[in-house]
């Protein structure tokens, strides 16, 4: 496992693991069976009303009305969440984030339960996402440049205060590293927040047996992208302790 820096005040607001799959034995009873196996750690169960259809087909990710109701299984404090539908599993962790090893264990346990209750025939895509919110103190282009090493080049004197950047980089012919930076309006606890998303996804040749190794690789990519995308000044604000 690659050594990663630890920060005492990390900007991570959510970590999300996604698995898009096809199975042969889905039925409306599956969420209940899944719940029986996870309810000790995830006692709160709910279903997204109306539901939405999110699918991964020949044309890529698509939305539709569908019948893919998403069932949520939440921990008592609401910070650890599993979401399940007939073709999707996500494992979400909100703060307090207890570190990579703890989150990885959450993912692997959820996968074990999925494999117990469903016959996963095919994995269409897997993804790992880190969503960070970073305070840049003032919503100006100059401040943005002081916190991020990636930024748009604008004409001198531009009075830009709102920035939205997306980057998608192919990796090893079957994966993509996507990075998104977006300035947000002022909100509770943030004067000038910027949403910094890192997403590593394998879109081809994914196998359920290889996920444990893959998530470690994905974490390495996200961690490296995190470190190189931020300036030292930015990282200092997270109080590096190790």
């Amino acid at each position: 496992m690659a050594k990663t820096k630890k920060y005492s005040n990390p900007p991570l607001t959510e970590a999300v693991f996604e698995l898009f799959f096809e199975s042969s034995n889905w039925s409306p009873a599956i969420p209940g069976i899944f719940y029986n196996k996870v309810q000790k750690r995830y006692p709160i169960i709910s279903q997204s009303p109306g539901g939405f259809g999110i699918s991964f087909g020949p044309k890529g990710l698509q939305l539709g009305s569908g019948n893919n109701d998403l069932t949520q299984f939440k921990s008592t404090d609401g910070t650890s969440i599993i979401q399940l539908s007939n073709n999707l599993l996500t494992v979400n962790k909100l703060p307090e984030y207890e570190g990579w090893e703890s989150y990885k264990l959450m993912i692997l346990k959820a996968l074990d339960v999925l494999k117990e209750v469903l016959d996963v025939k095919k994995v269409n895509r897997i993804g790992l996402k880190a969503i960070n919110k970073i305070e840049i103190n003032k919503a100006t282009y100059e401040n943005f440049k002081e916190f991020f090493t990636v930024y748009p080049v604008l004409p001198e004197g531009s009075n830009t205060s709102s920035i939205h950047l997306n980057y998608e980089t192919p990796v090893n012919f079957d994966s993509v590293l996507a990075i998104s930076l977006a300035t947000l309006n002022k909100e509770k606890e943030y004067e000038a927040p910027t949403l910094f998303q890192l997403y590593f996804t394998k879109i081809k040749n994914a196998k359920i047996q290889e996920i444990e190794d893959w998530i470690e690789i994905a974490h390495g990519h996200l961690n490296k992208a995190f470190e190189v995308s931020l300036t030292d000044k930015c990282k200092k604000s997270f109080n590096n302790v190790q």
Binding site: T13, E14, V16, E18, S46, S48, P49, G50, F52, I54, P58, K59, G60, L61, Q62, L63, G78, I81, Q83, L88, T90, N92, L94, G127, K129, I131, K133, V150, N166, Y167, E168, T169, P170, F173, D174, V176, A178, I179, S180, L184, N185, E187, K188, E189, L195, Q197, Y199, T201, I203, K204
Partner: protein, 164 residues
């Protein structure tokens, strides 16, 4: 790292993962244009991430509404899409009924176990006609229970004096 309008690739089929844009896929001496109509990987994430859902709701409503807490009201609205869709119209409706300046703050209340209600706290100056205000709320809820009973039962409205 490449900008998404100049994505470099050789054998990777980006048609399956990119967004509603025209992408110029370059491979040294090859350039081809691929049009995408599907959702990008990052856009799709809004549906799967709790934090991004919160962010989306916040950005939809923040021009009109304040939120009492950091996340409680947003999480409630995330699971009550019908209420979320009607809120801007409800805010606009009350705004148009009064000449006075108003503020709107959303506050989630636990009425009893397993029953939550979203309050719209309408901040007004002391000069508002209270009888008129109360009659307006009564009439509003009469209509809401006729038209959208499932939304009406999750909602309450309160006027807060001297808030402006």
């Amino acid at each position: 790292m490449y900008n998404n309008t100049n994505t470099s690739t050789s054998q990777l089929d980006l048609t399956s993962i990119s967004g509603n844009n025209v992408y110029y896929l370059t491979n040294n001496d090859q350039v081809k244009v691929v049009e995408h109509k599907e959702m990008s990987v990052l856009e799709a994430g809004h549906l799967l991430s709790i934090e991004l859902k919160r962010q989306k709701i916040r950005s939809e409503l923040e021009g009109l509404f304040l939120f009492k807490t950091k996340n409680n009201e947003l999480d409630f609205l995330a699971s009550h899409q019908d209420l979320r869709q009607l809120l801007p119209s409800i805010g606009d409706f009350f705004k148009k009924q009064f000449v006075e300046e108003m503020s709107f703050c959303l506050e989630l209340m636990d009425e009893e176990s397993n029953w939550q209600t979203l309050f719209i706290n309408i901040g007004v100056s002391s000069s508002v006609n209270w009888q008129e205000a109360n009659e307006l709320v009564d009439s509003f809820f009469d209509n809401m229970f006729d038209l959208y009973p499932r939304v009406a039962e999750k909602l309450n409205i309160d006027f807060v004096a001297n808030a402006i």
